[in-house]
Symmetry: C2
Subunit: 510 residues, 2 copies
Amino acid sequence: MSELTDPHRLRRPTLRVRRLGIDTYREPVVYLRADCHVCRSEGFQAQERVLVRASARTIVATLNVLHNGLIESTDIGLSEAAFALLGAEAGEQVELAHPHALESMSDVRRKIYGGRLDPPALERIVRDVSAGRYTDVEIAALVTACSGTNLDRAEIAALTRAMVDVGETLHWNVEPVLDKHSVGGLPGNRTTPIVVAIIASCGLTMPKTSSRAITSAAGTADVMETLAPVELDLAAMRRVVEREGGCIVWGGAVRLSPADDLMIRVERVLDLDSDGQMVASVLSKKVAAGATHVLIDMPVGPTAKVRDAASAERLHGHLLAVGHELGMQVRVVQTDGTQPVGRGIGPALEARDVLAVLDGDAAAPGDLRERALTLAGGLLECAARAEAGQGVVLARDALASGRARQKFAAICEAQGGMRKPPVAPYVHGVEATRGGVIEALDNRRLARIAKLAGAPRAAAAGVELHVRRGARVAHGEPLFTIHAEAPGELAYALDYVHGSEPALRIRELA
Amino acid sequence: MSELTDPHRLRRPTLRVRRLGIDTYREPVVYLRADCHVCRSEGFQAQERVLVRASARTIVATLNVLHNGLIESTDIGLSEAAFALLGAEAGEQVELAHPHALESMSDVRRKIYGGRLDPPALERIVRDVSAGRYTDVEIAALVTACSGTNLDRAEIAALTRAMVDVGETLHWNVEPVLDKHSVGGLPGNRTTPIVVAIIASCGLTMPKTSSRAITSAAGTADVMETLAPVELDLAAMRRVVEREGGCIVWGGAVRLSPADDLMIRVERVLDLDSDGQMVASVLSKKVAAGATHVLIDMPVGPTAKVRDAASAERLHGHLLAVGHELGMQVRVVQTDGTQPVGRGIGPALEARDVLAVLDGDAAAPGDLRERALTLAGGLLECAARAEAGQGVVLARDALASGRARQKFAAICEAQGGMRKPPVAPYVHGVEATRGGVIEALDNRRLARIAKLAGAPRAAAAGVELHVRRGARVAHGEPLFTIHAEAPGELAYALDYVHGSEPALRIRELA
């Protein structure tokens, strides 16, 4: 054997880390030059998966090949996600290799071919997903295989448990711990701040973590942030809950069910509905948050997330059964999902609606108030604080007496100080192009208009609705007002309004 | 209405094209700075899909967000794929917008939820895929939904037809037009040059287009390229076929079944098997190539693409039926897929085997010769040039008489001139670590070793096998030799040999 061909004399060559500042969201991407020796000798090709080994950690990333002078041929460029995951330092030398196949992808393939996933398989899958070992393409195969009604109840329960196990879990020294969740897709459905205020004012515990918008015009955390700080860490959250019995904070600081976010994102890109993923997503976060009694608000309507009665019944059954299996009392309330709730769509506009209801303002949106009372009442009954049918009476009293309003203000103060929602400098009314009766409102189009106007990033931006389903309007009467923080964004929203199907359908009267 | 809020006074802002030289394979990616005005006002986020409108064309691409000074905030960076698809010029101003949802993804979702795909739906899907409108994530959902046995025969036939319809189709002024295909996964299975030479020497027409390796150590085009030029355009290919009756050229210059490549790539990344995709892929290319009689070589074995008899039978049935429906005579030959064919794995090493068989060399690998004769014989029978059982006799005569060898040389000359395969400067023998009988050879591991040694990029690189299944070996006897063009590559291959499960399993004799 010649010296040249003795493998033990040849070290695996290394590459120098360069942070490139390219944001590829969660997918770690590395960049190598086409003439890089490692790229050539390992036969790596663009979009292939490569194993990157640094002193701190080893990750798997997607390869992009560079035909430019951005980096040297002895460098490896890292996207922001790759840099964060690898925990490397700029200039550090790292090794590259072909990654081993993911064992849990064999489980996914078995499911794709029509098999079932047992609890150990779901644990392997969720562990790998939450560790960032799946590419978006692999997650796409996973969520496709698990979508629709492809998971049975036992699989859904096992998925839920696996999602809980890979994240953190909160423990509270009281019982019951109440929680609520609204199934997405209904703009303006901002009952949470009102429900938490009512429940906490009744002396019960409701440590609510909420999300920011992913594809909607506002998440509860976005709305609440226009009224008080929401980015509290776990210790701060505990202090608020111990003092006031409730909080409404952003859940992002607490790592509950980390696999879920990654799967949901791909599912939304593909616009897939999935019973199993939906149930596991909602319930895993509730178990992880330490809830004992959970109320689920499930809006049903043709442009809501749950579109018909059959889907609603199926999900309803899964939520109760899986919740029970994971040791929680779950109550599901099916609500009207045929039109937005309240008047505002967008953080500040929705916050205004919330305040009006809490203030007992005569002009407050009645649908938001009644929905919040129904949910709070259901939760009080679920936690055995009210007889059947009496929960809503108790809730209405808490609201009418001003106790809920006081509690809300106290929670805001405890979270760092109550503040006033901002007001948009640019507004533009959209008028009825003919007279008639409002026959239908498209939740998705209205949310789209609010987003084009800048929501949720621009907190004051969004849509203010002036009419509801069944209302009679005259030609030229205002249907809704677009709010924006910049003229360009107002123009984008108006472009869309004028260039696509109307968001409100008007039936002319005979 | 103020001037500022009049939408008609506001033009959609444009961005200046910058070609960044980043190779993301087929997926078009665009890069915007986080502080880019369009990025902010449209609310675009990393990994989102954006519509890019240039003067020439409009494409949909994936967005990466830049936090560096690589481009200006008024620029849009384009990956190589995006640049090619858009047909833009560097410096050109382009517009950005939110893309419309792909209609055909609704069809895919229907399939995911358990529905069937009718011919118009498959046409829409294949048209969008071939136009590059699907992201890899969307293709992943598509191939997952269509994998395993999820497509029925009618769906497979419609998919095949749709794939033919979006590509180019060749027409020949003769009949019959013969073709063959080997289902992948078997290293060294290089019968094509021999079969084409035999068939053409019998006066029949066989215009063969072959592929380069995608994940294997050599494609037929890679092997043939060590013997003659293969990158011929359609006109040159026609001249060769008119003169010699056959050719063996690279199919990449002819755009047959363009959707297929994109789907296969994602399928391979996910390591998914799919009856429908496999049948449609093979047959669509044959229809598009103008074939009337097609022979399919289907190796069956535990480490081949088709792993067991049940899968082989199912595929066999689909291939005959769908071929018939598309107007072709198809014959399927199930062959031994338990070990590589011939001695070489890698372009030049396989070319040596091919030449030895054509030359009638006594030391030529008998398995390669017999397999080529079986396939050529089957094809002659399929095209009614021989009675049942007589095809192989005719083929053997063409080979033994030297007519096939002459024809092969003539084809090479017509393609641009015959040449000698290169020889590797670095070789290293791998020896048996104990004596016994060779019980099994792992096709996948052997291919992996050849690839690590540089194949197919380094044409002389690969693996040369010295033993076959059932052979008795003594301790220290050479099992195979690794060939490489560079010492580093030889080391990579040896690292793998020493660091993983053996590619050959030796059973010790009692």
